[in-house]
Amino acid sequence: MMKKSHTLALFNDFEEAGQAIRDLKAVSLPGFRMEDVVIKSPIEHPELSEMLGDRPVYVQWFTLGGVLVGPLTGLILVASAQANFLLQIRGGRPVVPVPPDMVLTYEFFILSGVLMTVLGCFIGWKLPGRRSPLYNAKVSEDKIGLLIKADPLVIPKINEILARHKPIEIMGEDRR
Protein backbone atom coordinates (compact mmCIF):
# COMPACT_ATOMS: atom_id res chain seq x y z
CA MET A 1 0.00 0.00 0.00
CA MET A 2 1.37 3.28 -1.01
CA LYS A 3 1.27 6.25 1.28
CA LYS A 4 -1.29 8.80 0.24
CA SER A 5 -0.82 12.53 0.14
CA HIS A 6 -3.23 15.44 0.71
CA THR A 7 -4.01 18.63 -1.09
CA LEU A 8 -6.37 21.43 -0.04
CA ALA A 9 -7.90 24.01 -2.35
CA LEU A 10 -9.79 27.07 -1.12
CA PHE A 11 -12.60 28.52 -3.19
CA ASN A 12 -14.50 31.73 -2.94
CA ASP A 13 -17.97 30.28 -3.27
CA PHE A 14 -19.90 27.09 -3.56
CA GLU A 15 -20.39 27.31 -7.34
CA GLU A 16 -16.68 27.20 -8.05
CA ALA A 17 -16.14 24.38 -5.60
CA GLY A 18 -19.03 22.53 -7.20
CA GLN A 19 -17.56 22.85 -10.66
CA ALA A 20 -14.25 21.58 -9.40
CA ILE A 21 -15.98 18.55 -7.96
CA ARG A 22 -17.76 17.92 -11.25
CA ASP A 23 -14.45 18.01 -13.08
CA LEU A 24 -12.86 15.66 -10.60
CA LYS A 25 -15.71 13.23 -11.09
CA ALA A 26 -15.26 13.30 -14.83
CA VAL A 27 -11.62 12.27 -14.83
CA SER A 28 -10.39 8.89 -13.77
CA LEU A 29 -6.99 8.92 -12.22
CA PRO A 30 -5.20 5.94 -10.73
CA GLY A 31 -4.98 6.12 -6.93
CA PHE A 32 -7.76 8.67 -6.57
CA ARG A 33 -11.38 7.96 -5.54
CA MET A 34 -14.26 10.33 -5.03
CA GLU A 35 -14.64 8.97 -1.50
CA ASP A 36 -11.41 10.71 -0.64
CA VAL A 37 -12.75 14.17 -1.43
CA VAL A 38 -13.86 16.15 1.62
CA ILE A 39 -15.61 19.50 1.59
CA LYS A 40 -14.79 21.89 4.39
CA SER A 41 -17.17 24.78 4.62
CA PRO A 42 -18.30 27.45 7.09
CA ILE A 43 -21.95 26.47 6.60
CA GLU A 44 -23.71 23.36 5.52
CA HIS A 45 -24.37 22.94 1.80
CA PRO A 46 -26.40 19.79 1.14
CA GLU A 47 -26.39 20.08 -2.68
CA LEU A 48 -22.62 20.13 -2.77
CA SER A 49 -22.34 17.18 -0.40
CA GLU A 50 -24.74 15.20 -2.56
CA MET A 51 -22.39 15.52 -5.50
CA LEU A 52 -19.82 13.55 -3.59
CA GLY A 53 -22.07 10.52 -3.52
CA ASP A 54 -23.97 8.81 -0.79
CA ARG A 55 -22.46 9.38 2.63
CA PRO A 56 -24.96 7.93 5.06
CA VAL A 57 -25.65 9.25 8.56
CA TYR A 58 -26.33 6.78 11.34
CA VAL A 59 -27.31 9.13 14.15
CA GLN A 60 -31.02 8.28 13.99
CA TRP A 61 -30.31 4.63 14.79
CA PHE A 62 -28.57 5.67 17.98
CA THR A 63 -31.65 7.72 18.85
CA LEU A 64 -33.91 4.78 18.19
CA GLY A 65 -31.80 2.57 20.43
CA GLY A 66 -31.86 5.21 23.14
CA VAL A 67 -35.60 5.76 23.14
CA LEU A 68 -36.22 2.02 23.22
CA VAL A 69 -33.75 1.00 25.89
CA GLY A 70 -34.12 4.11 28.10
CA PRO A 71 -37.75 3.86 29.18
CA LEU A 72 -37.51 0.12 29.70
CA THR A 73 -34.44 0.44 31.92
CA GLY A 74 -35.97 3.40 33.72
CA LEU A 75 -39.24 1.65 34.42
CA ILE A 76 -37.53 -1.49 35.70
CA LEU A 77 -35.16 0.54 37.89
CA VAL A 78 -37.93 2.64 39.40
CA ALA A 79 -40.44 -0.15 39.90
CA SER A 80 -37.98 -2.60 41.41
CA ALA A 81 -36.63 0.11 43.70
CA GLN A 82 -40.17 0.76 44.90
CA ALA A 83 -40.74 -2.94 45.43
CA ASN A 84 -37.58 -3.22 47.52
CA PHE A 85 -38.01 -0.09 49.58
CA LEU A 86 -38.40 -0.97 53.23
CA LEU A 87 -40.91 1.78 54.06
CA GLN A 88 -43.52 0.59 51.63
CA ILE A 89 -46.99 1.65 52.60
CA ARG A 90 -47.60 5.24 51.67
CA GLY A 91 -50.76 7.29 51.56
CA GLY A 92 -53.03 4.40 50.65
CA ARG A 93 -51.56 4.24 47.15
CA PRO A 94 -50.23 1.01 45.65
CA VAL A 95 -46.54 0.42 46.33
CA VAL A 96 -45.84 0.41 42.59
CA PRO A 97 -48.21 3.11 41.32
CA VAL A 98 -48.76 3.53 37.59
CA PRO A 99 -49.10 7.30 37.02
CA PRO A 100 -45.89 8.35 38.82
CA ASP A 101 -43.92 5.61 37.11
CA MET A 102 -45.31 6.75 33.79
CA VAL A 103 -44.00 10.25 34.44
CA LEU A 104 -40.55 8.99 35.34
CA THR A 105 -40.45 6.54 32.43
CA TYR A 106 -41.23 9.40 30.09
CA GLU A 107 -38.31 11.41 31.40
CA PHE A 108 -36.01 8.42 30.99
CA PHE A 109 -37.29 8.05 27.44
CA ILE A 110 -36.28 11.59 26.55
CA LEU A 111 -33.03 11.58 28.50
CA SER A 112 -31.65 8.41 26.98
CA GLY A 113 -32.84 9.54 23.55
CA VAL A 114 -30.92 12.80 23.90
CA LEU A 115 -27.80 11.17 25.33
CA MET A 116 -27.67 8.50 22.65
CA THR A 117 -28.26 11.06 19.89
CA VAL A 118 -25.35 13.16 21.07
CA LEU A 119 -23.20 10.08 21.44
CA GLY A 120 -24.11 8.99 17.93
CA CYS A 121 -23.33 12.46 16.66
CA PHE A 122 -19.85 12.47 18.14
CA ILE A 123 -19.18 9.04 16.73
CA GLY A 124 -20.39 10.29 13.34
CA TRP A 125 -18.17 13.35 13.66
CA LYS A 126 -15.23 11.13 14.62
CA LEU A 127 -14.68 13.62 17.43
CA PRO A 128 -12.94 14.34 19.68
CA GLY A 129 -10.03 14.00 17.31
CA ARG A 130 -7.11 15.82 15.82
CA ARG A 131 -7.49 18.17 12.93
CA SER A 132 -5.90 16.99 9.73
CA PRO A 133 -2.54 18.66 9.13
CA LEU A 134 -3.99 20.46 6.15
CA TYR A 135 -6.36 22.87 7.80
CA ASN A 136 -6.89 26.48 6.97
CA ALA A 137 -8.70 28.76 9.38
CA LYS A 138 -10.38 30.45 6.44
CA VAL A 139 -12.81 27.54 6.04
CA SER A 140 -14.38 28.55 9.32
CA GLU A 141 -14.70 32.10 8.05
CA ASP A 142 -15.89 32.45 4.47
CA LYS A 143 -13.99 30.07 2.17
CA ILE A 144 -14.91 26.65 0.91
CA GLY A 145 -12.19 24.06 1.03
CA LEU A 146 -11.75 20.82 -0.89
CA LEU A 147 -9.48 18.37 0.84
CA ILE A 148 -8.35 15.56 -1.42
CA LYS A 149 -6.43 12.48 -0.50
CA ALA A 150 -4.72 10.72 -3.37
CA ASP A 151 -1.66 8.99 -4.59
CA PRO A 152 1.28 11.45 -4.48
CA LEU A 153 1.86 10.86 -8.17
CA VAL A 154 -1.55 12.17 -9.25
CA ILE A 155 -1.60 15.13 -6.86
CA PRO A 156 -0.14 17.51 -9.47
CA LYS A 157 -2.85 16.49 -11.90
CA ILE A 158 -5.54 17.07 -9.34
CA ASN A 159 -4.09 20.43 -8.49
CA GLU A 160 -4.23 21.27 -12.16
CA ILE A 161 -7.95 20.47 -12.28
CA LEU A 162 -8.57 22.48 -9.14
CA ALA A 163 -6.63 25.43 -10.50
CA ARG A 164 -9.10 25.77 -13.37
CA HIS A 165 -11.78 27.08 -11.05
CA LYS A 166 -10.13 30.16 -9.62
CA PRO A 167 -9.11 28.80 -6.24
CA ILE A 168 -7.58 31.45 -4.07
CA GLU A 169 -5.07 29.01 -2.72
CA ILE A 170 -3.92 25.43 -3.11
CA MET A 171 -2.06 24.01 -0.18
CA GLY A 172 0.03 20.90 -0.51
CA GLU A 173 1.41 18.59 2.08
CA ASP A 174 5.09 18.97 2.86
CA ARG A 175 7.00 15.75 2.46
CA ARG A 176 8.44 14.89 5.77
Binding site: P42, L52, E141
Partner: protein, 471 residues
Protein backbone atom coordinates in the same frame (compact mmCIF):
# COMPACT_ATOMS: atom_id res chain seq x y z
CA UNK B 1 -75.38 38.54 -25.46
CA UNK B 2 -71.66 38.65 -25.36
CA UNK B 3 -69.71 36.10 -23.37
CA UNK B 4 -66.56 38.05 -23.25
CA UNK B 5 -66.74 40.40 -20.33
CA UNK B 6 -63.75 42.49 -19.48
CA UNK B 7 -63.40 42.19 -15.77
CA UNK B 8 -60.52 44.63 -15.59
CA UNK B 9 -61.83 48.09 -15.36
CA UNK B 10 -59.37 50.91 -15.90
CA UNK B 11 -59.35 51.62 -12.16
CA UNK B 12 -58.29 48.07 -11.44
CA UNK B 13 -55.35 48.37 -13.73
CA UNK B 14 -54.19 51.46 -11.94
CA UNK B 15 -54.33 49.70 -8.63
CA UNK B 16 -52.42 46.82 -10.11
CA UNK B 17 -49.64 49.09 -11.15
CA UNK B 18 -49.44 50.62 -7.72
CA UNK B 19 -49.29 47.19 -6.10
CA UNK B 20 -45.76 46.66 -7.31
CA UNK B 21 -43.73 44.19 -5.26
CA UNK B 22 -42.45 46.05 -2.25
CA UNK B 23 -39.88 43.93 -0.44
CA UNK B 24 -40.52 43.61 3.26
CA UNK B 25 -37.66 44.74 5.45
CA UNK B 26 -35.26 41.85 5.62
CA UNK B 27 -34.44 40.15 8.90
CA UNK B 28 -30.82 40.72 8.17
CA UNK B 29 -28.97 42.79 5.63
CA UNK B 30 -27.90 40.54 2.78
CA UNK B 31 -24.84 42.61 2.05
CA UNK B 32 -23.21 41.53 5.31
CA UNK B 33 -20.17 39.51 4.39
CA UNK B 34 -19.30 36.32 6.17
CA UNK B 35 -15.97 37.70 7.27
CA UNK B 36 -17.73 40.65 8.85
CA UNK B 37 -20.05 38.36 10.80
CA UNK B 38 -17.02 36.60 12.24
CA UNK B 39 -15.36 39.87 13.06
CA UNK B 40 -18.39 41.46 14.69
CA UNK B 41 -19.33 38.53 16.84
CA UNK B 42 -15.79 37.78 17.90
CA UNK B 43 -15.41 41.43 18.88
CA UNK B 44 -18.18 40.89 21.44
CA UNK B 45 -15.88 38.48 23.23
CA UNK B 46 -13.24 41.19 23.51
CA UNK B 47 -14.57 44.66 24.13
CA UNK B 48 -18.17 45.20 25.16
CA UNK B 49 -19.54 48.62 26.03
CA UNK B 50 -18.80 49.81 29.60
CA UNK B 51 -22.44 49.04 30.42
CA UNK B 52 -21.43 45.38 30.44
CA UNK B 53 -19.25 45.91 33.48
CA UNK B 54 -21.89 48.02 35.22
CA UNK B 55 -24.41 45.20 34.86
CA UNK B 56 -21.89 42.58 35.82
CA UNK B 57 -20.73 44.35 38.97
CA UNK B 58 -24.31 45.10 40.05
CA UNK B 59 -25.21 41.45 39.55
CA UNK B 60 -22.17 40.35 41.51
CA UNK B 61 -23.14 42.64 44.39
CA UNK B 62 -26.71 41.31 44.45
CA UNK B 63 -25.43 37.77 44.34
CA UNK B 64 -23.04 38.39 47.22
CA UNK B 65 -25.87 39.76 49.34
CA UNK B 66 -27.94 36.68 48.50
CA UNK B 67 -25.08 34.46 49.60
CA UNK B 68 -24.86 36.36 52.87
CA UNK B 69 -28.60 35.85 53.46
CA UNK B 70 -28.35 32.17 52.66
CA UNK B 71 -25.47 31.74 55.13
CA UNK B 72 -27.51 33.53 57.75
CA UNK B 73 -30.47 31.24 57.10
CA UNK B 74 -28.24 28.17 57.09
CA UNK B 75 -26.82 29.09 60.49
CA UNK B 76 -30.11 30.01 62.16
CA UNK B 77 -32.68 27.77 60.55
CA UNK B 78 -35.54 28.39 58.18
CA UNK B 79 -37.21 30.58 60.80
CA UNK B 80 -34.96 33.37 59.61
CA UNK B 81 -37.14 33.56 56.51
CA UNK B 82 -40.22 34.16 58.73
CA UNK B 83 -41.99 31.18 57.29
CA UNK B 84 -44.61 29.61 59.54
CA UNK B 85 -47.05 26.77 59.80
CA UNK B 86 -49.42 27.38 56.92
CA UNK B 87 -46.94 29.51 54.95
CA UNK B 88 -44.32 26.81 54.61
CA UNK B 89 -42.92 27.75 51.21
CA UNK B 90 -43.16 31.48 50.85
CA UNK B 91 -41.29 33.20 48.06
CA UNK B 92 -38.81 30.38 47.58
CA UNK B 93 -41.09 28.03 45.70
CA UNK B 94 -42.78 30.93 43.91
CA UNK B 95 -39.41 32.13 42.65
CA UNK B 96 -38.42 28.57 41.86
CA UNK B 97 -41.38 28.27 39.50
CA UNK B 98 -40.54 31.66 38.05
CA UNK B 99 -37.03 30.55 37.12
CA UNK B 100 -38.14 27.19 35.80
CA UNK B 101 -40.70 29.04 33.73
CA UNK B 102 -38.14 31.45 32.37
CA UNK B 103 -36.01 28.51 31.41
CA UNK B 104 -38.70 27.28 29.10
CA UNK B 105 -38.82 29.69 26.27
CA UNK B 106 -35.18 29.49 25.30
CA UNK B 107 -34.90 25.86 24.41
CA UNK B 108 -38.56 25.30 23.57
CA UNK B 109 -38.79 28.20 21.15
CA UNK B 110 -35.40 27.47 19.65
CA UNK B 111 -36.43 23.86 19.05
CA UNK B 112 -39.87 24.76 17.76
CA UNK B 113 -38.65 27.47 15.42
CA UNK B 114 -35.90 25.17 14.18
CA UNK B 115 -38.38 22.43 13.37
CA UNK B 116 -40.62 24.76 11.39
CA UNK B 117 -37.58 26.37 9.71
CA UNK B 118 -38.25 29.87 10.97
CA UNK B 119 -35.01 31.50 9.96
CA UNK B 120 -35.37 34.54 12.15
CA UNK B 121 -34.54 32.40 15.16
CA UNK B 122 -30.93 32.17 14.04
CA UNK B 123 -29.43 35.32 15.51
CA UNK B 124 -31.33 35.01 18.80
CA UNK B 125 -31.50 31.36 19.65
CA UNK B 126 -28.02 31.01 21.14
CA UNK B 127 -28.48 33.45 23.95
CA UNK B 128 -32.03 32.19 24.56
CA UNK B 129 -30.69 28.70 25.09
CA UNK B 130 -28.02 30.05 27.39
CA UNK B 131 -30.78 31.84 29.28
CA UNK B 132 -32.55 28.49 29.64
CA UNK B 133 -29.48 26.83 31.02
CA UNK B 134 -28.72 29.52 33.55
CA UNK B 135 -32.28 30.01 34.71
CA UNK B 136 -32.51 26.26 35.27
CA UNK B 137 -29.35 26.46 37.34
CA UNK B 138 -30.95 29.27 39.34
CA UNK B 139 -34.14 27.26 39.80
CA UNK B 140 -32.09 24.30 41.00
CA UNK B 141 -30.61 26.61 43.64
CA UNK B 142 -34.08 27.24 45.03
CA UNK B 143 -34.76 23.54 45.32
CA UNK B 144 -31.76 23.45 47.64
CA UNK B 145 -32.41 26.75 49.41
CA UNK B 146 -35.94 25.85 50.47
CA UNK B 147 -34.83 22.61 52.13
CA UNK B 148 -34.79 22.67 55.90
CA UNK B 149 -31.70 20.50 55.93
CA UNK B 150 -29.88 21.58 52.83
CA UNK B 151 -26.88 19.51 53.91
CA UNK B 152 -28.93 16.33 53.37
CA UNK B 153 -30.10 17.27 49.86
CA UNK B 154 -28.64 14.09 48.35
CA UNK B 155 -31.40 12.04 50.01
CA UNK B 156 -33.63 13.13 47.13
CA UNK B 157 -31.27 11.56 44.59
CA UNK B 158 -31.74 7.89 43.75
CA UNK B 159 -28.33 6.49 44.54
CA UNK B 160 -27.63 2.84 45.31
CA UNK B 161 -27.00 2.23 48.97
CA UNK B 162 -26.70 -0.79 51.21
CA UNK B 163 -29.85 0.06 53.18
CA UNK B 164 -32.19 -0.16 50.19
CA UNK B 165 -33.46 3.29 50.90
CA UNK B 166 -34.76 5.13 47.86
CA UNK B 167 -36.44 8.45 47.26
CA UNK B 168 -40.21 8.29 47.12
CA UNK B 169 -40.94 8.04 43.41
CA UNK B 170 -44.58 8.94 44.00
CA UNK B 171 -43.66 12.42 45.15
CA UNK B 172 -44.03 15.22 42.60
CA UNK B 173 -40.83 16.71 44.05
CA UNK B 174 -38.92 13.65 42.82
CA UNK B 175 -40.59 13.98 39.43
CA UNK B 176 -39.43 17.58 39.50
CA UNK B 177 -35.87 16.60 40.26
CA UNK B 178 -35.90 14.01 37.47
CA UNK B 179 -37.54 16.33 34.98
CA UNK B 180 -35.29 19.27 35.74
CA UNK B 181 -32.22 17.05 35.66
CA UNK B 182 -33.26 15.72 32.26
CA UNK B 183 -34.07 19.16 30.97
CA UNK B 184 -30.84 20.70 32.20
CA UNK B 185 -28.75 17.90 30.69
CA UNK B 186 -30.61 18.00 27.40
CA UNK B 187 -30.60 21.79 27.13
CA UNK B 188 -26.88 21.90 27.84
CA UNK B 189 -26.19 19.28 25.19
CA UNK B 190 -28.46 21.09 22.72
CA UNK B 191 -26.69 24.36 23.43
CA UNK B 192 -23.26 22.76 23.20
CA UNK B 193 -23.94 20.75 20.04
CA UNK B 194 -25.24 23.84 18.32
CA UNK B 195 -22.19 25.77 19.42
CA UNK B 196 -19.43 23.43 18.23
CA UNK B 197 -18.99 25.04 14.76
CA UNK B 198 -18.79 28.45 16.41
CA UNK B 199 -16.30 27.23 18.97
CA UNK B 200 -14.14 26.15 16.05
CA UNK B 201 -14.30 29.71 14.70
CA UNK B 202 -13.25 31.02 18.10
CA UNK B 203 -10.46 28.50 18.21
CA UNK B 204 -9.18 29.65 14.84
CA UNK B 205 -9.08 33.26 15.97
CA UNK B 206 -8.17 33.20 19.66
CA UNK B 207 -4.84 33.28 21.40
CA UNK B 208 -3.48 32.14 24.74
CA UNK B 209 -5.63 30.53 27.41
CA UNK B 210 -8.78 31.12 25.41
CA UNK B 211 -7.32 29.24 22.46
CA UNK B 212 -6.75 26.24 24.72
CA UNK B 213 -10.32 26.44 26.03
CA UNK B 214 -11.90 26.67 22.58
CA UNK B 215 -9.61 23.98 21.18
CA UNK B 216 -10.71 21.67 23.94
CA UNK B 217 -14.41 22.48 23.54
CA UNK B 218 -14.54 22.42 19.75
CA UNK B 219 -12.97 18.96 19.86
CA UNK B 220 -11.37 19.28 16.47
CA UNK B 221 -14.34 20.39 14.37
CA UNK B 222 -13.29 21.15 10.80
CA UNK B 223 -16.58 21.70 9.05
CA UNK B 224 -16.29 18.68 6.76
CA UNK B 225 -19.32 17.56 4.77
CA UNK B 226 -19.58 14.42 6.89
CA UNK B 227 -19.62 16.48 10.07
CA UNK B 228 -22.25 18.83 8.70
CA UNK B 229 -24.49 15.98 7.59
CA UNK B 230 -24.32 14.35 11.01
CA UNK B 231 -24.82 17.71 12.62
CA UNK B 232 -28.00 18.40 10.70
CA UNK B 233 -29.61 15.10 11.66
CA UNK B 234 -28.51 15.38 15.28
CA UNK B 235 -29.72 18.90 15.69
CA UNK B 236 -33.12 18.16 14.24
CA UNK B 237 -33.48 15.01 16.36
CA UNK B 238 -32.54 16.90 19.49
CA UNK B 239 -35.04 19.62 18.67
CA UNK B 240 -37.76 17.02 18.25
CA UNK B 241 -36.89 15.43 21.58
CA UNK B 242 -36.64 18.73 23.42
CA UNK B 243 -40.04 20.04 22.39
CA UNK B 244 -42.09 17.44 24.25
CA UNK B 245 -39.53 17.42 27.06
CA UNK B 246 -39.94 21.11 27.71
CA UNK B 247 -43.72 20.77 27.77
CA UNK B 248 -43.47 17.83 30.14
CA UNK B 249 -41.11 19.61 32.53
CA UNK B 250 -43.39 22.47 33.32
CA UNK B 251 -46.42 20.21 33.45
CA UNK B 252 -44.57 18.22 36.05
CA UNK B 253 -43.74 21.36 38.00
CA UNK B 254 -47.44 22.16 37.96
CA UNK B 255 -48.21 18.75 39.45
CA UNK B 256 -46.46 19.92 42.61
CA UNK B 257 -49.68 21.84 43.06
CA UNK B 258 -52.26 20.06 40.93
CA UNK B 259 -51.60 16.72 42.65
CA UNK B 260 -52.06 18.20 46.13
CA UNK B 261 -55.44 18.61 47.77
CA UNK B 262 -55.39 22.32 48.45
CA UNK B 263 -58.05 24.61 47.05
CA UNK B 264 -56.59 26.87 44.38
CA UNK B 265 -54.01 24.24 43.47
CA UNK B 266 -56.09 21.19 42.76
CA UNK B 267 -57.05 22.34 39.28
CA UNK B 268 -57.05 20.24 36.14
CA UNK B 269 -55.99 23.04 33.83
CA UNK B 270 -52.79 23.69 35.76
CA UNK B 271 -50.33 21.88 33.46
CA UNK B 272 -51.16 23.83 30.27
CA UNK B 273 -51.55 26.99 32.31
CA UNK B 274 -48.04 26.58 33.71
CA UNK B 275 -46.55 25.75 30.33
CA UNK B 276 -48.06 28.85 28.77
CA UNK B 277 -47.04 31.00 31.73
CA UNK B 278 -43.53 29.65 31.32
CA UNK B 279 -43.45 30.49 27.64
CA UNK B 280 -44.83 33.92 28.34
CA UNK B 281 -42.26 34.91 30.94
CA UNK B 282 -39.50 33.34 28.86
CA UNK B 283 -40.47 35.40 25.82
CA UNK B 284 -40.51 38.56 27.89
CA UNK B 285 -37.01 37.80 29.14
CA UNK B 286 -35.81 37.08 25.62
CA UNK B 287 -36.99 40.58 24.68
CA UNK B 288 -35.23 42.08 27.72
CA UNK B 289 -31.98 40.32 26.93
CA UNK B 290 -32.35 41.16 23.25
CA UNK B 291 -32.32 44.84 24.09
CA UNK B 292 -29.49 44.51 26.58
CA UNK B 293 -27.23 42.42 24.36
CA UNK B 294 -27.99 44.52 21.31
CA UNK B 295 -26.74 47.56 23.14
CA UNK B 296 -23.92 46.09 25.21
CA UNK B 297 -22.30 44.09 22.42
CA UNK B 298 -23.25 46.39 19.52
CA UNK B 299 -25.28 43.71 17.77
CA UNK B 300 -27.54 46.18 15.95
CA UNK B 301 -26.86 44.58 12.59
CA UNK B 302 -27.82 41.08 13.68
CA UNK B 303 -30.49 41.61 16.30
CA UNK B 304 -32.52 43.71 13.92
CA UNK B 305 -35.85 45.41 14.35
CA UNK B 306 -37.77 42.99 12.05
CA UNK B 307 -36.63 40.12 14.26
CA UNK B 308 -37.61 42.00 17.40
CA UNK B 309 -40.97 42.68 15.85
CA UNK B 310 -41.55 38.99 15.19
CA UNK B 311 -40.52 38.22 18.72
CA UNK B 312 -43.00 40.74 20.07
CA UNK B 313 -45.80 39.36 17.92
CA UNK B 314 -45.12 35.92 19.30
CA UNK B 315 -45.01 37.22 22.86
CA UNK B 316 -48.33 38.93 22.34
CA UNK B 317 -49.92 35.77 20.96
CA UNK B 318 -48.63 33.72 23.88
CA UNK B 319 -49.83 36.36 26.32
CA UNK B 320 -53.31 36.07 24.88
CA UNK B 321 -53.34 32.29 25.22
CA UNK B 322 -52.12 32.68 28.78
CA UNK B 323 -54.91 35.14 29.44
CA UNK B 324 -57.41 32.69 28.12
CA UNK B 325 -56.13 29.89 30.33
CA UNK B 326 -56.08 32.20 33.31
CA UNK B 327 -59.66 33.18 32.69
CA UNK B 328 -60.79 29.61 32.13
CA UNK B 329 -59.16 28.56 35.41
CA UNK B 330 -61.17 31.09 37.40
CA UNK B 331 -64.29 30.41 35.38
CA UNK B 332 -64.18 26.70 36.12
CA UNK B 333 -63.50 27.31 39.80
CA UNK B 334 -66.50 29.62 39.89
CA UNK B 335 -68.77 27.40 37.85
CA UNK B 336 -67.63 24.23 39.63
CA UNK B 337 -69.17 25.74 42.75
CA UNK B 338 -66.98 23.83 45.17
CA UNK B 339 -67.41 25.85 48.35
CA UNK B 340 -63.82 25.59 49.50
CA UNK B 341 -62.32 26.38 46.11
CA UNK B 342 -64.72 29.26 45.60
CA UNK B 343 -63.99 30.74 49.02
CA UNK B 344 -60.31 30.45 48.25
CA UNK B 345 -60.78 32.27 44.95
CA UNK B 346 -62.77 35.05 46.57
CA UNK B 347 -60.07 35.39 49.19
CA UNK B 348 -57.43 35.55 46.48
CA UNK B 349 -59.02 38.51 44.74
CA UNK B 350 -60.28 40.37 47.80
CA UNK B 351 -58.19 39.23 50.77
CA UNK B 352 -54.88 40.34 52.21
CA UNK B 353 -52.91 39.27 49.19
CA UNK B 354 -55.31 40.83 46.66
CA UNK B 355 -52.70 43.48 45.66
CA UNK B 356 -50.50 40.63 44.39
CA UNK B 357 -53.36 39.29 42.29
CA UNK B 358 -54.33 42.66 40.86
CA UNK B 359 -50.69 43.51 40.28
CA UNK B 360 -50.48 40.39 38.16
CA UNK B 361 -53.63 41.35 36.26
CA UNK B 362 -52.20 44.79 35.58
CA UNK B 363 -48.73 43.65 34.51
CA UNK B 364 -49.48 40.43 32.66
CA UNK B 365 -53.03 40.74 31.42
CA UNK B 366 -53.42 44.42 30.61
CA UNK B 367 -49.90 45.53 29.84
CA UNK B 368 -49.28 43.17 26.86
CA UNK B 369 -51.83 45.24 24.94
CA UNK B 370 -49.29 48.05 25.02
CA UNK B 371 -47.28 45.95 22.58
CA UNK B 372 -49.88 46.83 19.95
CA UNK B 373 -48.60 50.40 19.97
CA UNK B 374 -45.87 51.00 17.45
CA UNK B 375 -44.00 53.40 19.70
CA UNK B 376 -43.67 50.76 22.41
CA UNK B 377 -42.40 48.23 19.90
CA UNK B 378 -39.77 50.50 18.41
CA UNK B 379 -38.59 52.64 21.32
CA UNK B 380 -35.98 50.56 23.08
CA UNK B 381 -36.05 52.04 26.62
CA UNK B 382 -39.87 51.82 26.74
CA UNK B 383 -39.81 48.27 25.45
CA UNK B 384 -37.19 47.37 28.04
CA UNK B 385 -39.41 48.67 30.84
CA UNK B 386 -42.48 46.92 29.43
CA UNK B 387 -40.68 43.59 29.13
CA UNK B 388 -39.41 43.89 32.70
CA UNK B 389 -42.93 44.67 33.91
CA UNK B 390 -44.29 41.65 32.07
CA UNK B 391 -41.80 39.62 34.01
CA UNK B 392 -42.72 41.21 37.28
CA UNK B 393 -46.30 40.24 36.48
CA UNK B 394 -45.29 36.65 35.90
CA UNK B 395 -43.41 36.58 39.19
CA UNK B 396 -46.48 37.96 40.94
CA UNK B 397 -48.53 35.27 39.26
CA UNK B 398 -46.44 32.60 40.95
CA UNK B 399 -46.71 34.35 44.30
CA UNK B 400 -50.49 34.61 43.97
CA UNK B 401 -50.68 30.90 43.26
CA UNK B 402 -48.83 29.97 46.42
CA UNK B 403 -49.42 32.50 49.16
CA UNK B 404 -53.23 32.88 49.18
CA UNK B 405 -53.73 29.13 49.08
CA UNK B 406 -51.62 28.70 52.19
CA UNK B 407 -53.33 31.63 53.87
CA UNK B 408 -56.82 30.34 53.15
CA UNK B 409 -56.83 26.58 52.66
CA UNK B 410 -59.33 23.98 53.84
CA UNK B 411 -58.75 24.24 57.55
CA UNK B 412 -60.10 27.46 59.09
CA UNK B 413 -57.78 27.40 62.10
CA UNK B 414 -54.79 28.12 59.88
CA UNK B 415 -56.27 31.07 58.07
CA UNK B 416 -53.65 33.75 58.43
CA UNK B 417 -53.68 37.25 57.13
CA UNK B 418 -50.50 38.85 58.37
CA UNK B 419 -47.72 36.88 56.79
CA UNK B 420 -44.90 38.81 55.18
CA UNK B 421 -41.52 37.54 53.99
CA UNK B 422 -38.48 38.60 56.00
CA UNK B 423 -35.46 40.47 54.65
CA UNK B 424 -33.62 37.16 54.41
CA UNK B 425 -36.18 35.86 51.96
CA UNK B 426 -36.12 39.02 49.89
CA UNK B 427 -32.33 38.97 49.94
CA UNK B 428 -32.14 35.42 48.64
CA UNK B 429 -34.70 36.14 45.92
CA UNK B 430 -32.75 39.23 44.87
CA UNK B 431 -29.53 37.26 45.02
CA UNK B 432 -30.93 34.74 42.58
CA UNK B 433 -31.41 37.49 40.02
CA UNK B 434 -27.82 38.54 40.58
CA UNK B 435 -26.62 34.97 40.15
CA UNK B 436 -28.50 34.56 36.87
CA UNK B 437 -27.38 37.87 35.41
CA UNK B 438 -23.79 37.26 36.45
CA UNK B 439 -23.64 33.83 34.83
CA UNK B 440 -25.43 35.00 31.71
CA UNK B 441 -23.18 38.01 31.22
CA UNK B 442 -20.09 35.89 31.76
CA UNK B 443 -21.35 33.41 29.22
CA UNK B 444 -21.89 36.10 26.61
CA UNK B 445 -18.41 37.40 27.23
CA UNK B 446 -16.75 34.00 26.87
CA UNK B 447 -18.89 32.34 24.20
CA UNK B 448 -20.41 33.86 21.06
CA UNK B 449 -23.91 35.04 21.94
CA UNK B 450 -24.91 35.01 18.28
CA UNK B 451 -24.61 31.88 16.23
CA UNK B 452 -22.12 32.89 13.55
CA UNK B 453 -22.52 29.93 11.23
CA UNK B 454 -26.29 30.18 11.27
CA UNK B 455 -26.31 33.88 10.55
CA UNK B 456 -24.09 33.04 7.60
CA UNK B 457 -26.63 30.46 6.51
CA UNK B 458 -29.31 33.08 6.84
CA UNK B 459 -27.45 35.56 4.66
CA UNK B 460 -26.66 32.82 2.17
CA UNK B 461 -30.26 31.60 1.94
CA UNK B 462 -31.55 35.10 1.69
CA UNK B 463 -29.33 36.11 -1.17
CA UNK B 464 -30.12 32.83 -2.90
CA UNK B 465 -33.82 33.51 -2.52
CA UNK B 466 -33.50 37.07 -3.75
CA UNK B 467 -31.41 35.91 -6.69
CA UNK B 468 -34.11 33.43 -7.62
CA UNK B 469 -36.62 36.25 -7.56
CA UNK B 470 -34.31 38.19 -9.84
CA UNK B 471 -33.40 41.07 -7.58
Amino acid sequence: MSHTVDLHTPEDKDIHIERKFVPKPLDIDREVSWAKINKDVLRSLERPRPMFWVIFVAALALFSFGVYCEIYQYQNGMGAADLNNPQVWGLYIATFIFWIGMGHSGTLLSALLHIIHADWRKPIYRYSEAMTTFSLLTAALFVLIHLGRIWEFYYVVAYPNERWVWPNFSSPLVWDATAIGTYLTSSLLFLYTGMVPDLAICRDNARGVRKKLYTFLSMGWQGTDRQWANFRVTYMTLACLLMPLAVSVHSIVSTDFAVSQNPGWHITSFPPYFVLGALYSGCAVIITLFIVLRYVFRFEEYMTMPILNKLIKMTFAIAMVWNYLNLIEYATVWYGDNEVAKAQFIYKITGTYAPVFWGMVLCSTVLPFALLIKFVRTHMPTLLVVSLLLNLGMWLERVQIITPTFAHSQYPWTWTANWFPSWVQWGIVAGSFGWFTMLFMLYCKIFPAISMYEVKEMVHDQSKMLKARGQ
